[in-house]
């Protein structure tokens, strides 16, 4: 078994049977995000990306690029965890590419993680959970169990 050093650029991708518009809504509207993003209500407002956990923790990050329904780039600070929150902010890019047969390829690139080693080591399982959650929500209308 080899050990993995946390990567400073991480890429996650999933094919979803939905239009780019539907995927865009699912990643930018709180009534959708709270169903798969660990209960966090996320919304874009005034050039910022606001997050609020079920427990009431709130924070926000700058939106760097916003081209609905194709591309969203925003800062990432792991404000949900005090130790990781102290690390330097990183960056998240969402890309939505329409494919044949009503399928959208959703890719998340989490990079600029050089100053955030704890975040880099911790987000991998999270992004897998989030992306499989978006897919399940859009394809079946219900969130993943558990």
């Amino acid at each position: 078994m080899t050990t993995m050093t946390a990567q400073t650029t991480q890429v996650y991708s999933v094919f979803i049977k939905a239009t780019p518009e539907q995927v865009w809504d699912a990643i930018t509207k709180p009534e959708f995000t709270e169903r798969y993003f660990y209960g966090v209500r996320i919304e874009l407002r005034d050039g910022r990306r606001y997050s609020r956990t079920g427990g009431g923790v709130e924070w926000d990050e700058p939106v760097l690029e916003c081209e609905p329904p194709r591309r969203l780039v925003h800062g990432w600070s792991s404000a949900y965890d005090p130790e990781m929150a102290a690390e330097e902010p990183s960056r998240v890019t969402w890309e939505l590419e329409p494919q044949d047969h009503g399928v959208t390829k959703l890719t998340v690139v989490h990079d600029k993680l050089e100053g955030a080693p704890k975040t880099a080591a911790s987000v991998s399982g999270g992004w897998m959970f989030v992306l499989s959650g978006v897919k399940t929500l859009l394809e079946t209308g219900s969130p993943l169990a558990g």
Partner: protein, 106 residues
């Protein structure tokens, strides 16, 4: 061929699994880097990478003048959710039932 077929087909080859292991160790590699670790022609490595890309297991991204290959673990997670979880849950449940039966009769 559906998504699952493509993933299982991509994984059913030792060279492609080896490529995934190389990317797991260090992500974001060029074709030239990957090729240097394999006893295979550049064309052969490209062919395998294409199968992995079509299955969504590898995502290639342009960075400056280079094309970098990244391991995408999401399809494996989906396979895990779809296949492994289902069967291991049953096994765990069966063992739990056996335990309570044995303990009751003891």
């Amino acid at each position: 061929m559906d998504d699952d077929d493509r993933i299982f087909k991509a994984l059913a080859d030792p060279t492609r699994r080896h490529l995934l292991d190389r990317l797991f160790e260090r992500d974001g590699r060029t074709l030239t880097e990957l090729e240097s670790e394999l006893e295979m022609t550049r064309f052969g490595v490209m062919k395998h990478l294409r199968v992995l890309e079509e299955a969504g297991l590898v995502v290639a991204r342009k960075q400056g003048r280079e094309k970098l290959h990244f391991l995408n673990p999401v399809p494996i997670r989906l396979i895990h959710d779809r296949w492994i979880d289902k069967y291991t849950e049953h096994r765990v449940a069966a063992l739990a039932d056996l335990k309570s039966e044995l303990e009751e009769s003891a």
